[in-house]
């Protein structure tokens, strides 16, 4: 016999519903309202219909920023996920050194975003920064403030430094949850190190790796502070990602209508990708439970 559903439990989630309404739903409704209007300040608005959407969707600005954003996310995922797994595999399994490694891994995650940007801004300078000076002394022309390629390399290196440890920690947690019996069985079968990784560790880490990919993708797709502090979106627009472009439009140019339309389209892309990841995660969990 099915248990009766107690609908009074909904009252318990009411505080969260109210909180979300005030922190998310009402601002979102305001952004939708702004996206169909023009304003010159003084709380006066003029209906423009779909004009901002049409203008943005047919301008190169949005597509260029989206292209840079997707390229950035793809590059950092391609580096951080394998590197994080590799670091987790190399980390000691027990003892004080394992604890030390965990603390060292967690350190970059504790540094505020703007401080990370400032650290790398100084680190990469060829006059006073360690990295910039060493690279320049090696005879390589390097200036992240003037060269687009150098700016990209520095922004990617900064993100890899900041966030690979998150992937490593998640992978490490996944590795530690594998029962020893699997390794013993592999030893009896005389499985190679690669086979152990390919057929035991990787499938067992699948759940945490999906979470790692989701977290890193979402975070990299919304990145703002670190590249803004490091390069300000430059040189030119070389490192102007979606969020930097959005802030320039909304606060720099005070084009609230186009910025609202921009942010809604940005939100829809994030919503779509989150839903796809969420569905994959749920399906993976179900497949794992049935196996």
């Amino acid at each position: 016999m099915d248990k009766p559903v107690n609908q009074r439990a909904w009252i318990l989630v009411l505080p969260v519903v109210i909180l979300v309404a005030f922190s998310s739903v009402i601002p979102m409704m305001t952004v939708v309202n702004y996206s169909f209007q023009d304003t010159f300040g003084g709380n006066e608005f003029f209906w423009v219909g779909l004009e901002w959407y049409r203008e943005l969707l047919r301008s190169e600005r949005l597509w260029d920023a989206l292209g840079r954003q997707l390229l950035f996310s793809a590059i950092i995922l391609a580096i951080e996920i394998p590197l994080g797994i590799l670091v987790a595999l190399c980390m000691p399994k027990k003892g004080w050194i394992a604890s030390l490694c965990l603390v060292l891994m967690a350190l970059p995650l504790l540094i505020p975003y703007n401080v990370v940007g400032t650290i790398w801004q100084i680190f990469g300078r060829s006059d006073i920064g360690l990295l910039g000076r060493i690279v320049s002394d090696m005879g390589i022309s390097y200036n992240y403030a003037q060269n687009a390629f150098d700016a990209w390399v520095t922004v990617i290196a900064m993100d890899v430094w900041h966030w690979t440890s998150l992937v490593a920690l998640l992978s490490y947690a996944g590795l530690r949850s594998i029962p020893n019996a699997y390794y013993q069985a592999a030893q009896i079968d005389q499985a190679s190190r690669w086979s152990v990784f390919r057929y035991i560790e990787l499938p067992k880490m699948r759940g945490v790796l999906i979470i790692a990919v989701l977290l890193r993708f979402m975070d990299s797709f919304m990145i703002y502070t670190e590249p803004f502090v490091l390069t300000g979106g430059g040189p030119g627009n070389a490192t102007t990602f979606l969020s930097i472009d959005l802030v320039k439009m909304a606060l720099g140019q005070f084009d609230l209508g186009p910025a609202a339309a921009f942010s809604l389209m940005y939100f829809l892309v994030i919503l779509l990708i989150s839903y796809v990841f969420y569905t994959v995660m749920i399906t993976t969990d179900k497949d794992g439970a049935t196996q």
């Binding site: 009402i26 409704m29 305001t30 939708v32 309202n33 702004y34 169909f36 209007q37 304003t39 709380n43 608005f45 209906w47 779909l50 959407y53 049409r54 969707l57 047919r58 389209m265 829809l268 919503l271 779509l272 839903y275 569905t279 399906t283 179900k286």
Partner: protein, 90 residues
């Protein structure tokens, strides 16, 4: 409420959205949805299919604005057909 810059079309849009959610909630209480697996190969409930329909409709509208020089109600017709397909086959 002045700071929210309300207009009649946006207010009607949100009222419509709220009405759809209310109808779906009522339907779920009266006729609880059962999961089904469609062409996407994922298990979906009625609410999932509504979400996919709404999200897809947003992108259809954006594509229409960006690519087609025709009145926007054309996109709404496409969205309606899309929603029917989602509820039937997803």
């Amino acid at each position: 409420m002045e700071w929210m810059a309300w207009t009649w079309p946006t207010a009607l849009f949100f009222a419509g959205l709220a009405a759809v959610l209310a109808v779906m909630a009522a339907l779920h209480i009266k006729y609880p949805s059962t999961p089904k697996t469609g062409v996407l190969g994922i298990e979906t409930m009625r609410g999932d299919r509504l979400f996919i329909s709404l999200l897809g409709s947003a992108f259809i509208n954006l594509a229409w604005i960006g690519l087609v020089d025709a009145p926007q109600y054309g996109a709404l017709i496409v969205c309606g057909l899309f929603a029917l397909c989602v509820f039937r086959w997803v």
